[in-house]
């Protein structure tokens, strides 16, 4: 057991893609520590599902949230104390089904958070139903004749919504994924990492991904080029697809203030309230 791991017993299936994400994340934390970002300033959150067990396994502080909400939970943490780095883990059902509104708005407002989506195209923990990213025709207990919906492309969706950092990773390429995650956490603004992850029990995509994955040589320079890369289907480029600097939400909202660190004392707060709640001096 390393110093980033808790005593929680790991219950992922042998061969699960989540192991790759867990290991890549730990590597990313160590990379960040080398750059002076302390691990105790990195707060994690997760939704509900197989992906979310990463919360129990990582020896990092945070808030184990509920299905589809980790992206909103971490925005609350960030707004309360902007000195913290916040990372929301989410499944594809979490981020693109139950909680898609939070994703779109977090990107739109450029909330300074990182979202890592464990995209395996299936609801594993509830035994294999189709998700927002399942291919058309995907047979599952809820779609026995095959999924009749087209999958969402989370990358183009996030680009369109205003994400300032968009990347794709693969749980089978741990080194590159670690590097991508570290960059995402370092990025000031909304960073999105869509991690392709096989589910050995219900959607084993190892073979397919090993054929289709292609390492992106360099990050496209324009939004249009990034969109073109994100749209590709014949190959699945991995790496940082888009990155741009834009003002972040909390600074736009309240500048350099920090609601918990710069909190007014009881006396100061009471004086402020009294100014509004007590009669003004009569002007003579």
């Amino acid at each position: 057991m390393d110093d980033l791991t808790t005593y929680a017993v790991n219950t992922w299936c042998p061969g699960c893609g989540n192991f790759g994400i867990l290991n890549a994340f730990k590597k990313a934390v160590r990379k960040l520590e080398e750059k002076g970002i302390k691990r105790n300033s990195i707060m994690i959150s997760a939704g509900i599902g197989c992906h979310a067990k990463i919360f129990d396994y990582l020896r990092l502080s945070g808030f184990y949230s509920i299905h589809g909400r980790s992206m909103a939970t971490v925005q609350g943490i960030k707004l309360a104390n902007p000195d913290l780095k916040v990372v929301a883990f989410a499944g594809d059902g979490d981020a693109l089904g139950e909680g898609i509104s939070h994703m779109i708005f977090a990107a739109k407002r450029n909330a300074d958070i990182t979202v890592i989506v464990h995209d395996n195209g299936v609801y594993g923990l509830t035994t294999g139903q189709y998700t927002p990213t399942s291919e058309k025709g995907f047979k599952s207990p809820s779609t026995p004749k095959g999924n009749v919906e087209e999958p969402l492309n989370p990358l183009t969706l996030m680009l369109e919504a205003g994400a300032t950092f968009v990347a794709r990773g693969y749980s089978g390429k741990i080194g590159l994924l670690a590097d991508t995650i570290a960059q995402a956490i370092e990025h000031e603004g909304f960073s999105y990492v869509n991690v392709l992850q096989p589910c050995v029990s219900f959607n084993n995509t190892y073979k397919r991904y090993n054929e289709l994955i292609e390492i992106l040589e360099k990050t496209p320079e324009s939004y249009e080029d990034a969109m073109a890369v994100a749209r590709r289907k014949e190959k699945l480029p991995i790496g940082v697809i888009y990155r741009i600097d834009k003002p972040v939400y909390h600074k736009e909202l309240y500048g350099k203030f920090n609601p918990v660190a710069n909190r007014l004392s009881k006396k100061e707060k009471r004086n402020k309230v009294a100014k509004l709640a007590r009669p003004k001096k009569v002007e003579k």
């Binding site: 808790t6 005593y7 929680a8 302390k38 105790n40 300033s41 707060m43 959150s45 509900i48 067990k53 919360f55 129990d56 020896r59 990092l60 502080s61 945070g62 808030f63 184990y64 949230s65 509920i66 909400r69 909103a72 939970t73 971490v74 925005q75 609350g76 943490i77 960030k78 707004l79 309360a80 104390n81 000195d83 913290l84 509104s101 939070h102 779109i104 708005f105 909202l253 309240y254 203030f257 609601p259 918990v260 710069n262 909190r263 007014l264 009881k266 100061e268 707060k269 009471r270 402020k272 309230v273 009294a274 100014k275 509004l276 709640a277 007590r278 009669p279």
Partner: protein, 550 residues
């Protein structure tokens, strides 16, 4: 001696500045040292329709609008039709000259307004000029008032108001003489009182999505964000609102949210999350007539049982309901203190009538409570350390210690568990917190009692103001019993009334409050006076209803 209450009603279309006129009238009365209560009635639309504002004022305490007016100003003919029955016997109906009816004072409200670019908005000002004339205010005083209260295009406003004042003075100048009083303080709506009370209790951050009747808390805190050192955030929906607030408490911020029933339903999963993760989030639930969208801009108390049974699963929660605008201030701070003390979600249950009702209040800010978390001192930190009273000391990030909050059942460190003895242990921890909460509540003020004669009248929330006003108006002896808390219900305080003659007054169609009292305290009401037409009680009518039972 009969107490003197003067009531002013102004009615017109949305966009004619009716509510503003009501507020300025309240301010005018306050400057005379008089108490007032203002109720604004408006349908859910932006322009047109019929809005009215009722302001009742007295040198004595006044806690409700009266629906019999001394002076009605009807800015249009619809207002005349609606309010002709709201006039006292010797009352004055002042109308726009377009209204051709006998016995009304006809004034050039709209024809004069046409001379100004903002003819719609400016016409509301006529009601203030008419009020000033009928109560014998000097024109200079009126001009001073307008300069302070109608600052935009002030020259036009002064000119228009002077014309209307002169016309009104000729007909009814000085008809009413209003005594000066000794009241002081400021005018606040219930929502402003809640916002300020929470601020006085240490609020750091506020999250809300607009929903009537709680929207104005968001407006007030956003406007005064820098004045109060409070961040106001308006996210994409109520789910995000509740989640962000819960996340904010993890970082140590005192957080509050508000909505009405519909938005509150969306917050249920997070309410339960707050129960499980022991997140001290304060929720304000502002009721309006339901079910569903219901009647958005009106009032009801149909959410009582809903408020005390929020969220799936078993966990302690605190629900309180303020009876007056002053109490809304103090209770908001007290609720913030309690949710932090017991690390569990709380609901401040209120209604449109309270939230948007405006009253003069004289607050003592130093009497507000202050939220102060129990902090971990040293050694290994366990978020869910099982203590004798169930409360675990808190630590906020960043820290060398591991801080894990969890929506799953968890062990003391905050790691997910499915082990039977740990499940039982954490259930018992939450039960201990509930017991500690009840014990604490036995040591604080949980029930207001007004008077000590006659039958017991049980009421709660904004209906308390209606009942108190009805008793004053009808000169009725009764003992008003108003629990400030409805969960845990202070049974230990209420039991003593069990054998008394009891009446319940509430704004519910099925009598939820009466049923709560019956189920938990064994109080059997002789009569449950209910009202559920969306309008608050008129104390004049309520006094008659109470007298029938007494």
């Amino acid at each position: 001696m009969r107490r003197e209450v003067f009531t002013f009603i102004v009615g017109g279309k949305a966009g004619q500045g009716v509510r503003k006129a009501g507020t300025v009238a309240s301010q005018l009365f306050l400057e005379m040292g008089r108490n007032s209560f203002q109720m604004d009635d408006y349908p859910s639309l932006i322009k047109g329709g019929h809005n009215f504002s009722v302001v009742s004022t007295s040198t004595d305490e006044v806690t409700s609008q009266h629906m019999k007016a001394d002076l009605v100003v009807a800015l249009d003919s619809k207002s005349y039709e609606i309010h002709r029955n709201h006039l006292k016997e010797n009352g004055t109906m002042a109308c726009d000259s377009a209204v051709k009816e006998e016995g009304v004072i006809s004034l050039p409200i709209s024809s004069e307004a046409k001379k100004y670019p903002n003819r719609e908005l400016i016409s509301g000002l006529s009601s203030i000029a008419i009020l000033a004339a009928t109560i014998g205010m000097e024109k200079e005083e009126l001009v001073d008032l307008i300069k302070k209260q109608y600052k935009r295009e002030v020259e036009n406003n002064v000119s228009y108001a002077s014309t209307i004042y002169d016309a009104a003075y000729q007909e009814i100048g000085g008809k009413f003489s209003l005594e000066k009083g000794k009241s002081k303080g400021v005018l606040l709506t219930g929502n402003e009182a809640i916002a300020l009370g929470a601020a006085a209790g240490g609020l750091d951050i506020y999250f809300a999505y607009p929903m009537t009747p709680s929207t104005s808390i968001l407006h007030y805190l956003a406007r005064h964000s820098e004045d109060l050192g409070i961040v106001a955030v308006h996210p994409e929906n109520e789910i995000a609102v509740a989640q962000m607030a819960t996340g904010a408490t993890f970082a140590g911020a005192k957080a509050m949210v508000a909505s009405s029933g519909g938005g509150f339903s969306l917050m249920q999963e997070t309410f339960s999350l707050a129960g499980m993760s022991e997140a001290p989030v304060l929720f304000v639930l502002g009721s309006r007539p339901g079910p569903s969208t219901g009647v958005p801009t009106y009032t009801e108390q149909g959410d009582l049982k809903y408020s005390i049974r929020q969220g799936q699963g078993e966990f302690p929660r605190i629900v309180s309901s303020p009876g007056t605008v002053e109490e809304a201030f103090y209770l908001a701070s007290e609720m913030l203190e309690l949710v932090w003390k017991f690390q569990t979600p709380g609901v401040l249950l209120t209604e449109k009538h309270m939230e948007e009702g405006r009253k003069n209040v004289d607050l003592d800010v130093s009497k507000a409570k202050w939220a102060e978390p129990l902090l971990h001192k040293k050694g290994e930190f366990k978020r869910y350390l099982d203590t004798s009273d169930g409360m675990s000391p808190l630590l906020f990030p960043p820290s060398e210690e591991l801080i894990k909050w969890n929506s799953y059942e968890h062990d003391e460190l905050g790691i997910t568990t499915e082990e039977p003895e740990k499940i039982v242990g954490m259930h018992n921890k939450r039960i201990k917190k509930h017991e500690a909460l009840v014990k604490h509540m036995k040591s604080i003020h949980t029930v207001n009692v007004f008077g000590n004669k006659g039958p017991a009248i049980f009421t709660y929330g904004s209906t308390t103001m209606s009942v108190l006003e009805a008793l004053r108006h009808g000169n009725i002896d009764a003992t008003v019993v108003q629990p400030r808390y409805v969960e845990p219900l202070p049974v230990w305080e209420l039991e003593r009334y069990k054998d008394k003659k009891c009446i319940v007054v509430e704004q519910s169609s099925i009598g939820q409050f009466a049923s709560l009292l019956k189920e938990n305290v064994g109080i059997k009401a002789q009569k449950v006076i209910k009202k559920y037409d969306g309008r608050p009680f008129d104390p004049i009518e309520l006094a008659e209803e109470i007298k029938e039972v007494v």
